[in-house]
Every structure is written in structure tokens, then in C-alpha cells.
Symmetry: C2
Subunit: 207 residues, 2 copies
């Protein structure tokens, strides 16, 4: 698994001329870093006398952030598998009519999987943004910049994942599927990007 490799090795593979890992994997890692920073903020708030009032809520935020971090880290491999699956479909033989039909169906399935993988990443990243904002609102003010960085990382993850949804939907022939995914990613961007900006501005004000 690529996330079990050293950070520098992951960066080397990202930079290389091989198609995976690419932007989809980078997005999932940014989302996971955002979730990790929310967890850090919770861990540095829980148990502090001055924050006893929000301790219960911070414990819930921590639990949610840790679940999202795990999911987002797993999505690195899922994104690579979806992309490699799509590439394999494009590589299928197309000499006979039957082969053409099979290849075309495989490509359509591959496109759907390569759309749903970043959409999952976008959903989780939007959740991380909401948690970052809450952490910035009530968490330990001494480490509030970490909640701000968490929001920015998750926002970049969400918008990056959106690019990977937008790149695939135009080629999907199932219009109901394509429209539902485009509508969902549009809605996620519209609702969560401003929350990340709100967290960033709040953190700047409280610094």
C-alpha cells in the first residue's frame, strides 16, 4: 500500500511520469491531513480545565475526525485502483464488434468508478471542513492555527476531488448517473468551500 511508504517516496511517485498516484491520491492525503489536524486540536483541548465545558463535544469531533482520517487514507489506494481500472478498460482489444461492445461497457463502468472515488473523497473532505470550523470555534485557542490549516487542507482536498469528478462526467453516457454526480459535487462545493473560508477568517481573527 502506497500510504505505508515513506512520505518522500510518495512524493517521488507523485512526481514521476506514471499516471498513478496523481491528483486524486494527493487530494485524499490532503483530506486525511485536514482530519488529522482536527484530531490534534481536539487532543490538545480535551482534559484542559479552561475547555471543560466543550470536552464532550470535542470528544465527538475527535471520534468523527479519526473515522474520516482512516477513510481518507484508505481512499488513496481506492483512487489508484479506480484510475488503473479505467486505464485497463481503455486498453482492451477492439478488433471485433463484440470486443468493441465489451470494451465500451468496461470503459463506462470504469468512468463511473473513477467518478465515485473522488466524490467519496469530496464528501469526506466536506465533513472535515465542518469539523475544522467547529474546532476553530470552541477548541483550544493556543492551537487554533492548526484548525485553520485543517480547514484549508480539507478545502483543497474537496476542490481537487471536484476536478477529478468534472474530468470524468462528460464521458459518461448514463445521463442520470452523470447529472446526479455533477449536482452532488456542485452542492458540496457550494456548501463546504464557504465554511472553510469562514474557518480561515475566524482563525485569523482569533490569532
Amino acid at each position: 500500500m502506497i500510504v505505508e511508504q515513506p512520505v518522500t517516496r510518495f512524493l517521488d511517485e507523485l512526481a514521476s511520469g506514471s499516471a498513478t498516484p496523481g491528483g486524486g491520491s494527493a487530494a485524499a492525503i490532503m483530506g486525511a491531513m485536514g482530519a488529522a489536524l482536527v484530531s490534534m486540536m481536539c487532543n490538545l483541548t480535551i482534559g484542559k480545565k479552561n475547555y471543560a465545558e466543550v470536552e464532550g463535544e470535542m470528544r465527538s469531533v475527535l471520534q468523527a475526525a479519526e473515522g474520516l482520517r482512516k477513510r481518507l487514507a484508505d481512499m488513496v489506494a481506492e483512487d489508484i485502483a479506480a484510475f488503473d481500472g479505467l486505464m485497463a478498460a481503455y486498453g482492451l482489444p477492439k478488433d471485433t464488434d463484440e470486443q468493441k461492445t465489451l470494451r465500451s461497457a468496461a470503459i463506462q463502468n470504469g468512468l463511473k468508478a473513477a467518478t465515485d472515488a473522488p466524490l467519496d473523497c469530496a464528501r469526506a473532505s466536506a465533513d472535515v471542513i465542518a469539523l475544522s470550523l467547529r474546532a476553530a470555534q470552541v477548541g483550544n485557542r493556543n492551537v487554533i492555527s492548526d484548525a485553520g490549516v485543517g480547514a484549508l487542507a480539507a478545502q483543497a482536498a474537496l476542490r481537487s476531488a471536484a476536478l477529478n469528478v468534472y474530468i470524468n462526467v462528460p464521458s459518461i453516457k448514463d445521463e442520470v448517473f452523470a447529472r446526479s454526480r455533477r449536482d452532488e459535487i456542485d452542492a458540496l462545493l457550494a456548501s463546504a468551500v464557504p465554511l472553510a473560508e469562514q474557518a480561515f477568517e475566524l482563525v485569523k481573527t482569533k490569532l
Copy 2:
């Protein structure tokens, strides 16, 4: 070195209740991921017949991106050292007047180092944004989303580094130093954040 550890281990340490690694390290890694994605785009453009015209420029962009990636990866450790140095200064004894004077001077030096570390990260990230935009403008259109993710990652890195500059400058007593760093980070945000937005919009249009 923390960047020689597995990605998942880095995420575990980021999430933990220890003060480092924190947002500064996450910023440097986002910047390094942005640079790596620019390199990927260059590597998938260089040698392609349709992009022969821009091959020379893409080679220069690749070289610059690889230099920035190395620098940003090194900054993870530099950020941790600067933060730990500041924390050590706060921990110095303050029983006698002489100790108080020494501690105060050490804190001021620590604050300056903990301001210049993220400022370096911000400068490098702004450079990555400029390279991402150029890659999106002339690079291989088949992998343009990776240039877009590169711009978003570097933008998040820049804005995250800015939070870590803003958190320290109010405590710095050397007003000339404080003002020069605040002016520089304001200028970097004002010039480079819109370039990243331009890259994002360009990529969306070209998808």
C-alpha cells in the same frame, strides 16, 4: 527525519496531542505535493510530439519544481526545529533578573525563527503556484487536472504558512522585523492566491 516515515505514521503523529508536527509541517507537505504534481505534469508532457513546442519550457518548469519540492520537504523538519526551539525558550528558568533577560531574548529569537520558517514555506509555495499555472496553460491537456490539484495544494500551503506567520508576529518586539514579515506575507497572499484561482478556473474550462 519525519518525512522518511510512512505516510500513515506521519498522519498519526499529526493527529496526536504532541505540538509537533502540526500545521506548519502539513503546510510544507502540501507545498511539496503541489510541486510534485507540477513535475508529474511536466514528465507527462516532455517527449510528447504534440507538445514539442513547449518541451524546452517544460524542462525548465520541471527543474524548478523539483528544486522546490526538495526545499519544501526539507522544511518539514525545519518547521519542527523552529517550533521546538521556541517552546524550549519558553521553558527556560525565570527566577533571577538575569535569567529573565536571557529567557526573553531567547523567546524573541525563537519567535523570529518560527516566523521565518513558514515565510520560507510561503515563498516556495507561491513559486509552485506560478509553475502550476504555467503547466496548466501549456502542458499536456490529458493530465491538466493534476496541474489544477498542484495549484490548489500549493495555495493551501501558502495560506496555511501565512497563518503561522500571523500567529507569531504580534509577539515580536523588533517592529522593523515584524512589519517586514507581515508585509511580505500579505504581498505573497495578494499576488499568488489569485494565480491559483486562475489555474483552477483554467483547468475547469479545459476539462
